[in-house]
Symmetry: C2
Amino acid sequence: MRAPAVHAGIDLGGTSIHAAAVQAGTILAEAGCKTATGREPEAVVEQIAGLVDELRQAVGDATPLEGVCVGAPGGVDPVAGIVHHAPNLGWSDFRLADALTARTKLPVVVENDVTLGAIGEHVYGAGRGTRHLVALFVGTGVGGALVVNGAPLRGFRGGAGEVGHLVAIPGGRVCGCGRSGCFEAYASRTAMEAMIRERMAEGRKSVVPKIMKKKGKSRMSSSVFEAALDRRDPLMTEVLAEAQSHLATLVANLVNTVDPEMVVFGGGLVARLGARFVDPIARQARPAFLIQEGAERIRIVPAELGDHSATIGAAVVAVQRLGG
Amino acid sequence: MRAPAVHAGIDLGGTSIHAAAVQAGTILAEAGCKTATGREPEAVVEQIAGLVDELRQAVGDATPLEGVCVGAPGGVDPVAGIVHHAPNLGWSDFRLADALTARTKLPVVVENDVTLGAIGEHVYGAGRGTRHLVALFVGTGVGGALVVNGAPLRGFRGGAGEVGHLVAIPGGRVCGCGRSGCFEAYASRTAMEAMIRERMAEGRKSVVPKIMKKKGKSRMSSSVFEAALDRRDPLMTEVLAEAQSHLATLVANLVNTVDPEMVVFGGGLVARLGARFVDPIARQARPAFLIQEGAERIRIVPAELGDHSATIGAAVVAVQRLGG
């Protein structure tokens, strides 16, 4: 029996690109970079190809990379390898798989990044062995993916799992999607940052600007959130609690819809805050499950693979589609 | 090849019981009665057995009933034939299948009534040939059921599809489930009746009481709703429009979660109002689908089997579990 194949899993984001050489769920090597300013498809393909080269050299000739799976932030055609619509990259209908194969001489498959995160957690992370799973990723947006009967649910048009756009408050805050009152407009990292800025503009005090300056950050990164919480900043604590309260309603909505065994939270902020992020959500969500019998058996937990959910999930999909 | 088996499908509600002898999706005979006052399990079993006898006589000896499937309004154990929890009947942990088999000498299976309604519409009604389907039944409550990859989704604890208890308005109207702001608290027939009564108590005028008196009804039945709408009663029109607006949000929430090919609306009120009930919901829901590509291919329609969704679905389940 030969050793399991090694694939490159790529987590392509609007801000940064993470790459990992993965063998049977284990990361052999990592590489990464900031996404090219402008995010032109050709420049980004060049960046990904460079990361794949780095991984190749890191794992050596004894275990060659057999293929690549890229997780893109948006709608994809997984069969044709096309990124249809990725607002955070400004891409539409880009034939990513063809372009990257031309450059790397490797077979390339493409999938939605959140779907890959859910698959990573389902196969190798917190959700191992679950039959029905909901994954929620909190970051620039609130992304979601569902695993039903052991397989990712895509839906009729590939539109399943867009649960950040369920309605939290009818006619509420304007969301990045252009609609009003979506959960994403209250509970994404971006939304929390906006709410903190708005309340400071109204005269509220916060240590956040000082922390950002000290860390040399222009945005409220996960590390800024954590530092402000560690210093018990009232405004940060309040905004996080509001986001958690909305996420509790979202969790209850999803439990009352699909009744999963597990709701797993991922993304950079969750990787950093862990139980401090998830436990208050779980506490508030549970009383809102319509069926209380057996409710304690539904686990609400942080992702186990941290920042690697999507790259490891990408390698799982590479094995499924390319063999290995 | 022998003819397809004939089964008795029973739709057991808190108000009435409908029964039908069904062969391959076709109703051969019907029977029904008001649910016994008090709803004691033994009395209700006697009633169902009586209806089964009526059906037997109606279909004759040439096509004997081969089994019974009862749809109960609540949580069931379909394998053991137990009704665990049926608030509208006041039942808990009643071994319905055993009791009814003892009385009818027929094999009996039990299922949730809303699940049966969805199965009926999926196999023989509006949803024929769909892979992913959401069914919503508007009545005493707002019940839901999901078909995913061609099969009903039960979830981890049998709790999937309880979408009437997604949150419409955080902290809003008190729901029958004891929580606040559920869609059911705004959009069930019961909720609409309550809102009309509240607004009349505040001094609003309506033709509804006059219509109820004329029809000899103590509750606002579907026929009362229809008569008031036909007479363009402003209060009835307003309350229905509010319910439809909430149901549009619920539909969008479900499309953004599971991306079905079809959302089918059933229940007595929908059977009566048809497109007048469903079309305004569809119009308001569509702009709130996150993914607009292909959105026009998602059908939002009234049930085709009318009041028979659940009895026909019951016969489908009888065939699946008992053979035929």
